[in-house]
């Protein structure tokens, strides 16, 4: 039996407050949340319905010059130099007067992610914990996304499609773990889109994927589709071949390689396709694959709900396709969150961490707070679900 | 007989033994509204019906490759798409002793099947009678079934022919 009130709120309060710190990639996020202590939570799996109140959600993104990726060491420097200021802002916004008394738990991302950035945030988390004498919980980043998504959408037991710059996974809950049913065998979807954006030399702001989405919307030739490899392997998929192929098409287009008859008209030598067509075809192809593996997982575990999380999850075309798929299944429903929660943030770490804390599962020795670059979603023991 | 998916179509199938006028039938085969198949090439009801089913599917989607449903049955039986070859292999020859006569009637009229065209003994169209007359080696050859593949019984061979029939050209 799950008892989410295993640990009572501190200082006789009738609510819990958690501080969440996220810094696994180029986003530094700090959030403060509140859970009322509900009697109904003592018996039963209500972890998707904590009546969370978001007291603050502050984010600062490390931005690189156009066309450049982010190095771990520079990202770590960004986080290190901003983390205290962002924590301060988040506490002020949340009107936390005295963290020693007002915070129940400090949650930080233990992994997966880039080692140095994770570490720089962990140092701040440990210091706060010792200074304020507040317990710590190390959170799996992916589980953070899932729990935030469940809480926001109230989806009790969805199949989760987790799509971001570094991850592409189809996840479903079973026996106290979030099991990975399908995933990419090579590059992640976000990474694939980002790299193609660089080939197209389109801006990185606000995000490369967003700009591809806009170009795809402007495609004037939606009946025709540029044929791309379709590489679904059971519940897994592979994207590197698709990327290499569409990259070569784009390069031929820019270079004016008239020999490529797919791109240039045999007679006139005029280009037959545009950058918009490429973006549209790429999205249609990749997203069809994502929806298909999600549907495969749904069929496998007999689920009817889907939750999309991660940065790529804010793409409206992906949401639309997923919605259509669900509609054609029995009572299917798709849940997606908006960019506040899709994109990495501190609140999601607080949400997953607070659930874990309320089950009495928090750091007993600081050696448990060592960050880890590799931390699979299914390694986490999910005590807060049945 | 009718196929469940094609209720408006009547199919008549007659199996003849000891036919004496194969030569004569061949000479006027173009005018006769039937299909004639050398019974040596058929090992089961399933094999022949599978081909007829395929003919009906092709017909429904206007994909017939020959002039009539009857000639299409011979093509459908064949593992290759060469029409001439199909006729040669499955059609009757002058020395054919056992044959199958088929009428596919789409107009739902009464059968106009003229049994007198064939001089021979009509026996039940069933697996036992077909197996008596079939030539397993010839069938293996026609369907290009590797000698290394061993069949425990005729139904396994039949299954291989069904696969070939369903998969032709795809």
């Amino acid at each position: 039996m799950v008892n989410l009130n295993t640990v009572e709120p501190r200082n006789g309060r009738d609510y819990y407050i958690a501080l969440g710190l996220e810094g696994s990639a180029n986003k530094l996020g700090v959030g403060v949340i509140k859970h009322p202590r509900l009697a109904s939570m003592s018996g039963g799996d209500n972890s998707h319905n904590c009546e969370v109140e978001i007291l603050s959600n502050i984010r600062d993104t490390y931005v690189t010059p156009p066309g450049e990726g982010f190095l771990p060491r520079d990202t770590a420097r960004h986080h290190r130099n901003w983390v205290i200021r962002i924590i301060k802002q988040a506490l002020e916004k949340a009107q936390i007067m005295d963290p020693r008394l007002d915070i129940d738990v400090i949650c930080f991302t233990r992994g997966p992610g880039m080692g140095a950035p994770l570490h720089s945030v962990a140092i701040a988390a440990r210091t706060c914990s010792l200074m304020w004498e507040v317990p710590l919980v190390g959170v799996n980043h992916c589980v953070g996304h899932i729990e935030m998504g469940r809480e926001i959408t109230k989806a009790k037991n969805p199949v989760v499609l987790y799509v971001s710059g570094g991850n592409t996974q189809v996840i479903a809950y079973s026996e106290n773990r979030y099991r990975i049913f399908g995933e990419t065998l090579d590059v992640a979807i976000g990474n694939c889109l980002d790299r193609f954006a660089r080939t197209l030399k389109i801006p990185n702001a606000p995000s490369p994927g967003y700009n591809i989405e806009q170009l795809a919307k402007n495609c004037k030739n939606k009946d025709k589709l540029i044929e791309l490899p379709y590489t679904v392997k059971g519940m897994d998929l592979s994207m590197s071949g698709i990327l290499a192929y569409i990259d070569s098409l784009a390069k031929d287009l820019f270079r004016g390689n008239k020999k490529n008859k797919l791109i240039f008209d045999r007679e006139t030598g005029e280009p037959k396709i545009t950058v918009e067509d490429l973006c549209y075809s790429l999205q249609e192809n990749l997203f069809a694959m994502l929806v298909e593996i999600t549907e495969r997982a749904m069929a496998h575990v007999n689920a009817s709900q889907v939750l999309i999380v991660g940065g790529v999850g804010s793409n409206t075309r992906l949401q639309e396709m997923m919605g259509q798929m669900c509609k054609d299944r029995a009572n299917g429903r798709v849940h997606a969150t908006d960019e506040r929660f899709c994109i990495d943030n501190g609140v999601m770490i607080a949400q997953a961490g607070l659930l874990q804390y309320r089950m009495g599962d928090y750091v007993k020795d600081l050696s448990e707070t060592v960050v880890t670059q590799k931390f699979r979603t299914d390694e986490v023991y999910v005590s807060w679900r049945e | 007989m009718q196929l469940p998916q094609f209720p408006g179509v009547n199919i008549e199938i007659l199996l003849f033994q000891d036919v004496s006028n194969a030569n004569d039938i061949r000479s006027k085969i173009a005018e006769l509204p039937y299909a004639f198949i050398d019974a040596r090439t058929i090992c089961s009801v399933e094999q022949l019906m599978s081909a007829i089913y395929r003919v009906m599917i092709e017909s429904k989607y206007n994909r017939l490759r020959t002039k009539s449903l009857h000639s299409e049955v011979l093509l459908a039986l064949s593992p290759t798409s060469n029409i001439g070859e199909a006729f040669k292999k499955f059609g009757i020859s002058d020395d054919t002793k056992n044959l199958i006569m088929i009428e596919i009637n789409q107009d739902n009229d009464n059968s106009s099947l003229d049994k007198t065209v064939v001089n021979g003994e009509i026996v039940d169209f069933n697996d036992d009678n077909l197996q008596k007359n079939s030539d397993v080696n010839a069938i293996r050859k026609i369907y290009k079934i590797d000698q290394s593949v061993e069949f425990e019984n005729i139904s396994e061979l039949s299954r291989a022919t069904v696969n070939a029939i369903q998969l032709r050209g795809i």
Binding site: I87, K88, P99, S120, I123, A124, T127, L130, M131, L366 | -
Partner: protein, 81 residues
């Protein structure tokens, strides 16, 4: 090769509690290349003492600078929060 390149760093905090916290924060992280680099943390009164030993100056430079970065974060946390 021996860890013959050493550096001892002394960081005086306002009180022993702060020095202690800093030590506890730094201690858990494992040494990435134990055969090339070592670090131990102790406190002496209000001071945090970090003793580094390394196979050469390169590894020492990276290791020491990383630890100082962390100590600066610790100090800022205590200062601001």
């Amino acid at each position: 090769m021996s860890l013959s390149h050493t550096l001892t760093l002394n960081v005086p905090f306002e009180n022993s509690n702060q020095a202690n916290i800093a030590m506890k924060v730094l201690q858990p992280d494992p040494i990435l290349k134990p055969q090339d680099f070592e670090v131990t943390y102790t406190t002496e009164g209000n001071d945090l003492v970090a003793s580094f030993a390394s196979i050469d100056d390169r590894v020492l430079r990276v290791g020491v600078s990383n630890v100082i970065d962390s100590i600066k974060t610790i100090i800022e946390t205590m200062d601001e929060l």
